[in-house]
């Protein structure tokens, strides 16, 4: 059967390799020219108990004929090695009526009576919920080729899925060879055998067949997850120092960098804590090497005092925040966009800084390069807000062509013009050049105390007001330099504008496209800059009858009345534009789906009494 897109999931106990199977399927499909989006399913523990719901590990792979921009709605086909991990997918609403489930039925005949009963009950329950369950002997078939089937059934399952979706086995062989090459040739060979065995078994034992034709691309592409895209961006920006303290889901950026960065002559510094990590970065910045520091929400909470110092002392710095579920330790492996207000407002006093948010993998890469330039030009920290959804999802993007102009130039060590003070604030733009240690006659003292143009401590009212204004003016300057955001849909206006930022963009635009195709007058816009905002927002918003922020963070239901707390972007935009923007926001710990957004848009249109066609 020919289809436009399908969502395939692999779920297993941790250590059974469902993640590997999914990644391979994704890469193979991308290489075949399909659009893909993968999402990791990650347990919170390293090796949680087997057969437990919270221990599910795996991968969701959405494959399409065209470009895929998000993780999609419910799954079409699921490979599950036991029924408990499968349950976790039902729990998050990942299944629809008729989802095809390929489940190992070995549990029906194990010795342990409890397990047999659990299995039987679950299967009955799944059937009740209208799942299309088909039993597959993953383990017993795998056992024919390898002693411990826990380390093989993933590849056998991959072979099976390749048969069902008509994937190019040659490409799968390449991926497997790459994956296991580090171990041993024997392991490579065994896995290749398993791949073919799974494939053959499917050809003989099932008539499930789907084909998702690809549209070949004429531009070279790479497949990366968002964290790798950020890491590559860091390298391409010519950043020399990445200073960090491990924290999920940001750490994998530094894992990759720790490996690759030395090849560029650069260094990852793992500090003793987040405070030290940003302090080290700020030291490097003062010394002329604009660095990056990487963290997630709890780490951001610790970096605020130093961030304020960098703002006050006008030291460039790129801060990458990969957002996770909050507040506090929250949901460390899950997605949320809950750190916007904190990024904007966490520092006591007035602390203007630049905040940007990539909405896809390509932007993850390029925003870092922009961020470093902005940090240096505007002599201030730039926060880049990513999230767990971008971080772990894989996507093909056009291969960037790095240029030396993307790099930070070598540090300036020429003599400083003695007549120029270290904070020579331009009255129009607030901008100034900074002396770098080593520059003769540039000698000055960085301080977090209020200071004048010479960097000298100053208590006078007028100096404090002047310096504050100079720092704030930089944001106005940047806003004037930015282009207004682009409307997805109808730039001329309409009934409803959905406003978003960051990773939900793909799902929002898919929902908008679906509804527009049905004649509904809805458009969307994704803000790339959160501080300062891109220009003309009020003007743009005024073309639409209704405005709705869609984001992955908490907001009170409208029933809370006067006390209602709006979602985060919504709050800031209401203050900024005074437009009556409503919000539909949630904290499910998983990406918002296009279907849910569609429903929210329709409901909103209903409530507001807008005619549907």
């Amino acid at each position: 059967m020919q289809i436009h897109q399908h969502i395939i999931e692999f779920v297993s106990d941790a250590g059974e390799g469902a993640q590997t199977a999914g990644q391979c399927l994704g890469t193979v499909s991308a290489k075949m020219g399909n659009g893909i989006w993968t999402v990791e399913i990650i347990p919170a523990e390293v090796e949680p108990p087997r057969r437990s719901r919270a221990g599910a590990s795996g991968n969701r792979v959405r494959i399409g004929s065209k470009k895929i921009t998000n993780a999609g709605d419910q799954a079409d086909l699921v490979v599950a090695f036991n029924e408990q991990v499968l349950y976790s997918r039902f729990d998050v609403g990942a299944m629809r009526d008729g989802t095809i489930i390929l489940l190992d039925d070995k549990w029906a005949s194990v010795d342990d009576e409890n397990i047999r009963k659990e299995f039987a009950d679950a299967v009955a329950d799944f059937k009740n919920r209208k799942a299309d369950i088909r039993f597959v002997p993953f383990e017993s078939e795998t056992k024919k080729h390898i002693k411990d089937p826990r380390h093989g059934k993933n590849i056998w399952a991959l072979g099976l899925v390749c048969a069902i979706y008509d994937r190019d086995l040659k490409l799968a062989e390449i991926e497997i060879t790459k994956k296991f090459a580090k171990k041993s040739q024997e392991i490579v060979d065994t896995n290749l055998k398993l791949l073919h065995a799974g494939y053959d078994w499917a050809m003989q034992n099932t008539d499930l067949r789907f084909s998702i034709p690809a549209e070949p691309s004429d531009v070279p592409k790479i497949v990366v997850n968002g964290n790798i895209a950020l890491a590559l961006g860091i390298m391409a920006a010519g950043i020399e120092v990445c200073s960090m303290y491990p924290i999920t889901p940001a750490t994998s950026i530094s894992h990759y960098l720790a490996e690759a960065f030395p090849r560029m002559g650069c260094v990852v510094h793992q500090a003793e804590d987040e405070i030290s990590a940003i302090g080290f970065a700020i030291g490097a910045s003062f010394a002329g090497k604009t660095p990056v520091t990487i963290t997630s929400g709890p780490g951001l909470a610790l970096k605020n005092e130093f961030l304020a110092l960098a703002i006050m002392a006008e030291l460039p710095l790129v801060v990458v925040i990969v957002q996770r579920g909050g507040p506090s330790t929250g949901l460390p492996t899950r997605v949320e966009q809950g750190d916007l207000l904190s990024a904007l407002y966490a520092q006591p006093g007035d602390a203007p800084k630049i905040v940007m948010a990539p909405s896809n993998h390509e932007e993850c890469f390029h925003f870092i390069i922009t961020a470093r330039k902005l940090a240096e030009t505007f002599r201030t920290p730039v926060i880049v807000l990513s999230d767990a959804n971008l971080a772990t999802g894989q996507q093909p993007i056009p291969r960037p062509n790095p240029k030396t102009t993307w790099f930070a130039p070598p540090i300036d060590q020429s003599d400083w013009d003695e007549s120029v003070p270290p904070f020579d604030w331009d009255p129009q733009t607030g901008l100034s050049q900074r002396p770098i240690p080593g520059q003769k006659n540039g000698n000055y003292v960085v301080t977090g105390l209020a200071h004048d143009q010479n960097g000298r401590v100053a208590y006078e009212s007028s100096i404090n007001e002047h310096a504050m204004q100079a720092r704030s003016r930089k944001l106005a300057t940047l806003q004037h330099a930015l282009k207004p955001p682009v409307i997805h849909g109808d730039p001329e206006g309409g009934d409803l504008l959905v406003i978003g930022w960051g990773s939900p963009r793909g799902a929002i635009e898919e929902a908008v496209d679906t509804l527009r195709a049905q004649g509904i007058s809805v458009s969307s816009v994704t803000l790339k800059f959160l501080s300062p905002f891109e220009p003309n927002l009020k003007e743009i918003f005024s073309k639409f009858k209704h405005l709705l922020c869609v984001e992955i963070n908490y907001s009170d239901p409208a029933s809370f009345g006067d006390a209602r707390r709006y979602s985060q972007l919504c709050t800031v935009l209401r203050a900024h534009t005074l437009c009556d923007i409503d919000c539909w926001s949630h904290v499910p710990g998983i990406p918002l789906t296009p279907k849910d957004i569609e429903a929210a848009i329709l409901e909103h249109i209903d409530q507001k009494g807008i005619d549907k066609p």
Partner: protein, 339 residues
């Protein structure tokens, strides 16, 4: 997208031309030539006038540091003085060099970050007993372990000066302070012992503010050390701890000078004070001296010249050319290429 900065129309003037910068980068790598070319005077190291209490011990430390810079002919623009927050941490403002007056407790992360990619700078750190041993204690331990080349001066006045007389970790038990009007409840931290205990600590010394010659000699010895030199300086705070070091100042028996060829030159001190030979490479002996509170030892307590240096790790690849970098990032991208 696809092209960086496409949504930003803003362009700024670049101050220096790329060629100019290249040339200067080379200068940076052979920095040892620089000092021969210029002669500096004490005035080159003077910054804003100090605003410490008139007989504060900090004044001497400032003067010793300025003299050291002059005698070593350190180019002011190649010298950075980093501090936290406190009376003592105002010191960078009073130097004519580059300075970084950072946050309370956080001087060491900043100093390590400066050192990370800049082997050419001379780095001095000034911290207080609260700054270093209370809020900065974690960074202190780890900076000792990183052992990056710099001289760290702990100005230990046994009190919080700037915030007006609160108990510090080194305040002696029973001292009456504003937060412990009935007397500090705990025995004081021993910064020497804890510093020595830290793996990779490589240079631990003690001085007193009223013996500037010895302080100067210690700073000088620290400059020859390849890693982090930690110097605890017993500092008078006449404003809040009137006379708390008088016993050591007035009774020569309360001070003992450590001598060793690898240590600090005792100079004229031997005329007044007793000396004791001490092998600074012996951990056990160093610990014994560190724990001795009467008489107090002055000089180099502990030395480990073979300790690993983290700056050797962070400075790898510092001269990589743009072309090499471009090749490296291209190679990385290729690893993820699909088409």
């Amino acid at each position: 997208m696809g092209e960086t900065l496409s949504f930003v129309s803003f362009v700024t003037k670049e101050k220096a031309s790329p060629t100019h910068k290249k040339e200067k980068l080379m200068n940076m790598t052979d920095w040892t030539l620089e000092p021969r070319m210029r002669e500096f005077e004490l005035g080159d190291y003077l910054g804003a006038a100090p605003r410490w209490c008139p007989s504060c011990g900090n004044h001497t430390v400032l003067k010793c540091l300025q003299k050291l810079c002059k005698d070593l002919n350190l180019p002011p623009e190649k010298t950075v003085v980093v501090s936290g927050i406190g009376c003592s941490s105002r010191l960078p403002h009073h130097m004519g060099t580059y300075g970084f007056h950072s946050l309370h407790g956080r001087s060491l992360p900043v100093a390590c970050g400066i050192r990370a990619r800049r082997p050419d700078l001379s780095i001095f750190v000034v911290t207080g007993d609260g700054d270093c041993c209370a809020i900065g204690a974690g960074h202190w331990l780890h900076a000792l372990r990183y052992n990056m080349k710099m001289t760290v001066m702990l100005l230990d006045n046994n009190i919080y000066g700037l915030t007006k007389k609160q108990t510090s970790p080194t305040t002696p038990a029973h001292t009456k302070t504003n937060t412990h009007p009935n007397g500090a409840p705990l025995d004081p931290v021993n910064p020497l012992a804890t510093a020595i205990s830290m793996t990779n600590a490589s240079f631990v010394a003690q001085c007193v503010d009223w013996l500037p010659e010895h302080l100067y000699n210690t700073l000088l010895r620290a400059q020859q050390h390849p890693g982090l030199a930690f110097i605890r300086i017993r500092q008078r705070c006449p404003h809040f701890m009137k006379g708390h070091l008088d016993a050591f100042m007035n009774d020569p028996n309360k001070i003992q000078i450590l001598t060793d060829p690898r240590g600090v030159l005792p100079g004229s001190l031997t005329q007044t004070y007793g000396t004791v030979e001490h092998d600074p490479t012996s951990y056990d002996d160093a610990m014994k001296h560190a724990r001795q509170t009467d008489p107090i030892p002055l000089g180099l307590l502990y030395l480990n010249e073979s300790a690993l240096r983290y700056d050797e790790f962070t400075q790898k690849g510092i001269v990589t050319s743009e072309e090499e970098k471009l090749a490296a990032i291209e190679a990385e991208l290729n690893k993820f290429a699909i088409l």
